[in-house]
């Protein structure tokens, strides 16, 4: 089985985010980047499935000039091949990204294409469905469990709904899946190995046109306004208890207990 994982980098939230002077983007000079959390789940699932069913895992990332470490990390975790797709000045919007990935996949064997169901930088969640549409493949989003059928022609996947309900779906392969979580925490990629691979790894590349429609345009970006509705209760335990009791009394909760 050929497993394909589509990955990208997102800003690292270890740093506080600031908005640039134009007010339409993050101030990127200060940002550091990490692999999108959901894409890491997708990779972990692909590695687990390959270890069960055999085959190979190929990781694809759009070449934004800074994805070498991401790709080395994929190899350090156990991916078989890594490929840079196209050439972009920065991470493009979903439509362009999906068109590039789909173009690359047309010449690449694929039975199961996995990607994170969404990413924190746009919360768009469209790359999976768009790639599926362009390649005419079935797609399932928000997948929490994947099992490949014994004949390798179908996969059984779970989707979790509100209220603790789980749907089990069968999908014909090849297919694309938007992964919500992996069965195990994504494995650690030792820095020792990543650094070694940065020097020695072979990275494939695929030329694609960077055209895929306009997608979304960000008109303005702002930090949510903070409203002062929270009251921090300080003081001795007795004083805190009294204040809590008073608040409950004010709202008519637990009157019997408060005298």
């Amino acid at each position: 089985m050929e497993f394909i994982v589509l990955l990208k980098q997102v800003p690292d939230l270890a740093e506080e985010l600031e908005i640039d002077a134009d007010g339409t983007d993050l101030a990127r000079d200060w940002l550091s980047y990490v692999t999108s959390e959901w894409d890491e789940y997708a990779l972990e699932e692909a590695l687990q499935l390959r270890d069960q069913a055999g085959g190979s895992v190929t990781c694809l990332a759009l070449d934004t000039g800074s994805v070498d470490e991401l790709l080395a990390t994929c190899l350090a975790r156990g991916a078989d091949r890594v490929v840079k797709v196209g050439s972009f000045e920065r991470q493009p919007a979903s439509h362009v990204a999906a068109a590039a990935f789909a173009a690359a996949l047309r010449d690449m064997p694929h039975h199961l294409v996995l990607t994170g169901v969404q990413a924190i930088d746009d919360l768009d969640g469209q790359v999976g469905p768009l790639v599926a549409t362009l390649l005419d493949l079935p797609h399932v989003s928000v997948v929490t469990h994947i099992a490949v059928g014994p004949d390798g022609r179908t996969a059984t996947v779970h989707q979790e709904y509100a209220g603790g309900v789980v749907a089990e779906l069968e999908v014909d392969l090849p297919a694309t899946l938007g992964v919500q979580t992996s069965r195990e925490t994504p494995r650690y990629a030792p820095v020792s190995r990543v650094r070694q691979l940065m020097k020695t790894m072979e990275v494939g590349s695929v030329e694609v046109s960077a055209d895929g429609g306009a997608g979304l345009v960000i008109e303005a970006m702002s930090v949510p306004e903070v409203s002062a509705t929270a009251e921090m209760i300080a003081g001795s335990p007795d004083a805190i208890a009294e204040r809590i009791a008073a608040i409950l009394a004010e709202r008519g909760i637990g009157k019997a207990a408060v005298r």
């Binding site: 270890a14 506080e16 550091s32 650690y188 020792s192 190995r193």
Partner: protein
């Protein structure tokens, strides 16, 4: 000419019963061994594999004398001892999947007494590195490695907030990038001192003491990264090198005469590891820097407390500094210093070294109590009877570990934990009204 002499015949070998060659007696003996000892009938693959690793060589030298067992702090609380590692390995266990791999704190007390110089401070990281490369790594530890990689500190706090503790120190603390001139002392603050609330107490105390002494100092601020030494000892050599590159880049950007560090693990890294990575300079633990300056300290308060001192493994045993911390404590008016039974070279490990700081969950299943708890009981027995007892420390790992242990052993109110710098700062302040 064949001489007629008494001979011994064993296994087809014939030896003279009495023979002296050039004055040396090489007479044959009835009990000389002519066959291999049965020990080598064990599989040798695991031992060959470990001794083939860089740093793993000394494990083979163990001859099972067992001197290491009673001095191993983990042996006191569990079924573990360095000698047993060798016994496991000669039976074919590579230790990669063995819980024992994560129990050693690299405190070095076994190496101190080992007649064969078998050195876990070298072979443990070597085997752990292979475990890490094979993906065999406790989750709690890999979380910390991820944090160190992303943020340069084990807690995953923002690197830009590394110097936020400055607020509240009450004195000015220069950040070297804003000074634009050489300084005498570049003060490497370290991780827990920068981010942990109790570590920050020590940082602020240090800032006040340095200021009172008129020391020309500055800190790196947000440019500072973890020394990474404990990550290295836990098997992540690449991460250690990555952090070292970042620190060395920062060190090289500025002019300073010496580096003064709060953390013995940083001291160990900068002094013993950084030279091979391209940075060399004078490194002092803060107790070493301050001890010669005690005559210039103006003590305004008496500190009437019974104090004992916990030797950090990476300041004491592994780097040989026992006196400087004690000189500082003895200089503080009012302090009555008492030694615990395990002191100086035989100091008892707190359990935080070699990655132990981040392996409490993993270790918990294999020990009867934490090393820090056992150490706290020892401190309570030494100074903690009437409520004036202080366990003084000189490593930023300790306050959180020992304060937790004081609570978990039910000794709240009997013993407090103070960094030596906090006691110095207290004595240099006017008495509290």
């Amino acid at each position: 000419m064949q001489r007629e002499l008494p001979v011994i015949k064993v296994d087809g070998v014939t030896e003279l019963e009495h023979a002296v060659v050039e004055g040396v007696d090489i007479s044959g003996h009835w009990n000389r061994m002519f066959t291999q000892r049965s020990i080598t009938e064990y599989p040798t693959e695991a031992m060959d594999w470990i001794t083939g690793l860089e740093g793993g060589e000394s494990l083979r030298n163990c001859y099972q004398c067992g001197k290491c067992v009673p001095v191993c702090p983990v042996n006191h609380v569990g079924d573990y001892g360095p000698r047993k590692l060798n016994a496991k390995v000669i039976r074919g266990n590579r230790l990669i999947d063995d819980p024992d791999l994560w129990l050693c704190t690299t405190c070095g007390n076994c190496y101190r007494v080992c007649p064969k110089e078998v050195n876990p401070i070298q072979f443990m990281p070597a085997i752990r590195e292979q475990a890490v490369l094979e993906g065999n790594i406790p989750d709690e530890l890999s979380d910390v490695f991820r944090n160190l990689q992303r943020t340069g500190n084990p807690m995953g706090e923002s690197p830009r907030k590394r110097a936020d503790w400055i607020a509240g120190a009450g004195v000015e603390i220069p950040v070297i990038s804003q000074l634009d001139r050489p300084v005498d002392v570049l003060w490497y603050v370290s991780d827990y001192t920068s981010y942990h609330p109790r570590g920050q107490d020590a940082a602020r105390a240090m800032a006040r003491v340095l200021t009172a002494l008129g020391v020309d100092f500055a800190i790196l601020g947000p440019e500072e990264r973890s020394d990474g030494d404990s990550a290295r000892l836990a098997g992540e050599t690449g991460l250690f090198e990555l952090l070292a590159e970042q620190n060395i880049k920062a060190f090289s950007r500025y002019e300073f005469k010496r580096l003064v560090v709060m953390d013995p693990h940083a001291y160990n890294a900068f002094r013993n590891r950084y030279p091979a990575l391209g940075w060399e300079g004078e490194v002092l633990h803060y107790t070493q820097f301050l001890a010669p300056l005690v005559d210039g300290m103006r003590f305004l308060s008496r500190v009437e407390l019974d104090v004992t001192y916990h030797d950090p493994c990476y300041l004491g045993r592994n780097n040989g500094e026992y006196d400087a911390p004690r000189r500082l404590l003895e200089a503080i008016p009012g302090i009555r210093l008492a030694e615990m039974p395990h002191n100086r070279a035989n100091g008892y490990c707190c359990g935080g070294g070699g990655g132990g700081m981040w392996l409490d969950g993993t270790v918990a299943g294999h020990v009867s109590e934490r090393l820090s708890e056992r150490r706290v009981r020892e401190a309570v027995a030494t100074v903690g009877t009437d409520g004036t007892g202080v366990l003084s420390v000189a490593c930023p790992y300790e306050p959180s570990r020992f304060e937790d242990a004081v609570k978990s052993t039910g000794n709240d109110g009997r013993l407090v934990v103070r960094d030596i710098i906090e006691l110095l700062d207290q004595a240099m302040q006017p008495p509290a009204a």
